[in-house]
C-alpha cells in the first residue's frame, strides 16, 4: 500500500463510529458598511505605527507627491494598472515591472506604490491580491517603503466580510502595519525583513 493509502486507512479506522458535529456560526458575519469605517481603519492602522492619511479623490495625487518628497523617494515602483489620476506628474523616477524586475533591482528601489483589494477596519489590515495596481507579491516585500491607496468602498468592517470578498485562487497578502517582531522579550518592534515603513492613504467617496 502507498503511504497515501495507509494514512487514509488509518484515518478511517480511527474515526469509525465517531458522531459528526454541527458548526454553530453565531459569531458576527459580514456587516454593511457605515460612515465610521474610515476613521476606525485609520485608527487601527495607526496603532501599528503606520502613517495614515484620509483625503478626497481630488487630493490623492498631491498627497502622494508630498509623501514621496517627505520620504525622499527617487526610484518608485508603480505596478501596472495603478490609476494614473492618483499619480503626481513628476518628482520621481517611475519603474515598471515589465519586463520583470530582478530581486536585486527591487531591493534597490526606494519604494512601492500600490492599490489594494480589500481593507479590514476592525483589525487595521489591507489585503493585496496581486491584481490591477498591486503587482506580484515580491513588489511590496523588498522595497523598504510601501505606500498603499485604499478606496472607501473597499473597507469591510471585520474579517468575515473581507474573506467573503476575496478570491482564494489569487495569491493573497494580508498586511497589518509595517514588518515587526515580538521575538525579543515579547515586545513588538517594528522593522525586520519586510518594508519598515507603511503609509496608507484612504480615499473617501465624496
Amino acid at each position: 500500500m502507498s503511504a497515501r493509502d495507509v494514512i487514509l486507512a488509518r484515518v478511517r479506522a480511527a474515526v469509525e463510529g465517531v458522531p459528526d458535529v454541527e458548526i454553530p456560526r453565531s459569531y458576527r458575519g459580514p456587516e454593511p458598511a457605515t460612515d465610521g469605517l474610515v476613521d476606525l481603519l485609520a485608527d487601527r492602522v495607526r496603532d501599528y505605527k503606520a502613517v495614515v492619511h484620509v483625503v478626497e479623490e481630488a487630493g490623492v495625487a498631491a498627497l502622494v507627491a508630498d509623501s514621496l518628497a517627505a520620504r525622499g523617494v527617487r526610484r518608485l515602483v508603480v505596478p501596472e494598472g495603478f490609476p494614473e489620476t492618483w499619480l503626481p506628474s513628476g518628482g520621481f523616477e517611475r519603474i515598471g515591472d515589465e519586463p520583470r524586475l530582478s530581486a536585486a533591482d527591487l531591493d534597490t528601489a526606494d519604494g512601492i506604490l500600490t492599490t489594494c483589494a480589500v481593507a479590514v477596519a476592525e483589525t487595521g489590515t489591507i489585503v493585496l491580491d496581486a491584481g490591477e495596481g498591486q503587482g506580484r507579491r515580491a513588489l511590496t516585500l523588498l522595497p523598504d517603503y510601501h505606500l498603499c491607496v485604499v478606496r472607501q468602498d473597499q473597507i469591510e468592517s471585520g474579517v468575515p466580510g473581507a474573506v467573503a470578498r476575496l478570491d482564494p485562487a489569487r495569491p493573497l497578502t494580508w498586511i497589518s502595519g509595517p514588518s515587526a517582531t515580538s521575538d525579543i522579550e515579547l515586545n513588538r518592534v517594528e522593522g525586520v525583513h519586510g518594508p519598515r515603513t507603511l503609509e496608507v492613504v484612504v480615499v473617501t467617496s465624496g
Binding site: 474573506v163 497589518s176 521575538d183 522579550e185 522593522g191
Partner: protein, 480 residues
C-alpha cells in the same frame, strides 16, 4: 547539547532531549535559574495582558471559540474526505502532493526534492512540524544546510540551543543574551553582526535584517509549514510578523511545505473564524503583520506539499485525546500556565512544551520513557489553559486521563490497592476509621518510606476522633 531521536524503533520519532530525566528533575534545575525565571515572568506577563485586552474587544469571542472547536472536530471526523479533496485542489492548481507516514519518510521526501534541484542551501520559515521531525538534522546529514529565518529561530540556531516556546522559541533569552549570541555566532553562518551592536530590540532586529538579506535574495529553495490548509480550494495559509515568511514563500523558485494532516479546514469561509482566533490568542494583536495565502504553484513557482502523519492518526483514534489535534499552535496555554512560567519550555523535553505539550507529546511519542510518563503531571490542574484555549481543548481532563494510563510507582499502586480493599466493604471501612480515630495522635506529619513523596508537597488531613457514620448512629442524626 545532544540531539537524539527519542522514538522507539517502529513507532513515532520526534525530536527532543535525550529523555533520561523527568519533568520534575528538569523543572527543579530550571527554577534555580533566576535569569530564566525573570525572562519568562516578564515575557509571559506582557503577552497575557495583551491577549486579554484584544480578546475582550470582540463581543462574539465565545461564539468564535465554539465555531473554531466545531470546525476542527468536524474536520477531524471527516479527515479522509477532506485530505483527498485538498490533494485534488492542490494538484489541480499545479502543486505536487506527497504523503509521509512518519518522520523518516517526510525527511526523505524533502531531502530528495531538494537534491533534485541541485541546491545545497535552503531557507526556512519557522515550522513546528519540521522541528518535530528533525528536518534540519536530516538535511545536514545529506550535505544540505537549512537556514532558519525567523528571528527567534535564528537566535536558537546561532546559539546551538533548543526552542522553549511554540511561538517565541527564544523566549528564555533576554536582549543582552541575544546580543551576545549575535556578536559571537553570526559570522559563523554568514554576514557578521554590525560593529558596536547594542542590545536595543530595534538594533537587534536590524542586525537580523542585514544578516539574512542576501540569503533571501540568493537562495532558490524554501521550506515552510502552514497554519491552515483549505480543503475546498487547496489554499495554504501562513501567519507571521517579520516578513521572513513572505521572503521564503515568494522569492525562491521551489517551495516545499511540510504540514501535519490535522491542519485542515474544510472551506474557505472557515478562515474567517481562525484569522480572528489565532492572532489575538498568540501574539495578542488584532492581526499579525503579514498573512500569506497561496493556492498551488503560484507566480511561476514549483510547489510541493508534504502531508505528515507521524503519530497523528494514533491520537485521532483516542476518544478523549483526539481533541489535542484541534490545536492551532497559538501558545496561549503556555503563557497563562503557572508551571510553564516557572519551569520554562526546556523542562518538557519536547518541541511541544507547556500544557498542550504535556498532552500532545505523550500521545504522539507514547509513554515509554520516564520523561514522557512524567509530562501529564507537569500541571497543577488549575484550568487556566482550558479557559484561554481558542479551540476549547479541555487540557486538564486529558492530563488526568493520561495520568491514569501511565504506570504508577509501586508504593502508590500498593496504597491504592489497599484503599480499594478497604473501601470495598462497609465493615472494613468502619473498622479502619475507628482504628484511625484511636491512633490519630501517632500519625506523623511526614509519611515514612516511599509514601513520604506524597506528604512532601501536601499536608495530611487531620483525622477526626469519630467518623460521621459513628456520630450519626450514636446521636441518631444529632437528635440525642
Amino acid at each position: 547539547m545532544s540531539r537524539t531521536f527519542l522514538g522507539m524503533p517502529g513507532t513515532v520519532s520526534m525530536m527532543g532531549y535525550s529523555g533520561k530525566e523527568t519533568f520534575p528533575e528538569n523543572a527543579a534545575k530550571a527554577v534555580r535559574n533566576s535569569q530564566l525565571r525573570f525572562n519568562l515572568r516578564k515575557a509571559t506577563g506582557t503577552i497575557r495582558g495583551r491577549r486579554a485586552s484584544v480578546v475582550g474587544e470582540l463581543p462574539d469571542w465565545p461564539d468564535l471559540r465554539q465555531a473554531g472547536k466545531a470546525i476542527k472536530d468536524h474536520t477531524l471526523r471527516n479527515l479522509d474526505t477532506y485530505l483527498v479533496r485538498l490533494e485534488e485542489a492542490v494538484t489541480k492548481a499545479g502543486g505536487h502532493v506527497h504523503w509521509a507516514r512518519d518522520a523518516a519518510e517526510a525527511n526523505r521526501i524533502v531531502t530528495d526534492l531538494v537534491k533534485a534541484t541541485g541546491e545545497t542551501q535552503v531557507v526556512k520559515v519557522k515550522s513546528m512540524a519540521t522541528q518535530e521531525i528533525g528536518l534540519n538534522e536530516a538535511l545536514h546529514a545529506e550535505g544540505i544546510t537549512a537556514y532558519e529565518t525567523d528571528l527567534a529561530e535564528l537566535i536558537v540556531q546561532l546559539g546551538d540551543d533548543w526552542p522553549s516556546h511554540i511561538l517565541v522559541p527564544a523566549i528564555h533569552r533576554n536582549r543582552s543574551e541575544i546580543r551576545e549570541i549575535f556578536v559571537r555566532h553570526m559570522s559563523e553562518w554568514g554576514r557578521p553582526a554590525p560593529e558596536r551592536l547594542t542590545d536595543e530590540p530595534a538594533a537587534l532586529a536590524e542586525a537580523a535584517r542585514l544578516h539574512l538579506r542576501e540569503r533571501f535574495l540568493a537562495t532558490k529553495v524554501a521550506i515552510s509549514g502552514a497554519n491552515f490548509m483549505v480543503a475546498e480550494t487547496g489554499t495554504l495559509v501562513v501567519l507571521e510578523s517579520e516578513g521572513n515568511g513572505r521572503m521564503c514563500l515568494t522569492l525562491p523558485e521551489t517551495l516545499i511545505s511540510v504540514v501535519g494532516i490535522e491542519k485542515l479546514v474544510p472551506t474557505w469561509r472557515d478562515l474567517e473564524v481562525f484569522l480572528q482566533l489565532l492572532p489575538r490568542s498568540s501574539t495578542g494583536e488584532r492581526m499579525n503583520p503579514y498573512t500569506s495565502m497561496w493556492t498551488g504553484a503560484t507566480e511561476g513557482q514549483e510547489f510541493h506539499l508534504v502531508l505528515l502523519d507521524n503519530g497523528r492518526t494514533g491520537v485521532l483514534a483516542d476518544d478523549l485525546g483526539r481533541q489535542a489535534l484541534r490545536c492551532i499552535r497559538c501558545s496561549a496555554c503556555l503563557n497563562v500556565c503557572p508551571v510553564y512560567e516557572r519551569s520554562g519550555g526546556h523542562a518538557y523535553g519536547s518541541v511541544y512544551p507547556g500544557p498542550i505539550g504535556a498532552i500532545l507529546t505523550p500521545q504522539l511519542r507514547g509513554m515509554g520513557s520516564e520523561l514522557d510518563r512524567s509530562l501529564p503531571y507537569a500541571s497543577s490542574l488549575c484550568g487556566a489553559c482550558y479557559e484561554v484555549c481558542p479551540v476549547a481543548i479541555d487540557i486538564p481532563s486529558v492530563l488526568i486521563e493520561l495520568r491514569g494510563r501511565s504506570r504508577h510507582p509501586v508504593a502508590e499502586r500498593a496504597g491504592m490497592a489497599a484503599a480499594g480493599w478497604v473501601f470495598k466493604r462497609q465493615g472494613r471501612l468502619a473498622r479502619a476509621q475507628r482504628m484511625g480515630g484511636r491512633m490519630r495522635r501517632l500519625v506523623p506529619k511526614r509519611l515514612p518510606g516511599p509514601l513520604g513523596g506524597w506528604t512532601d508537597t501536601r499536608d495530611l488531613p487531620a483525622i477526626p476522633k469519630e467518623s460521621f457514620r459513628d456520630w450519626w448512629n450514636r446521636t441518631d442524626g444529632g437528635a440525642r
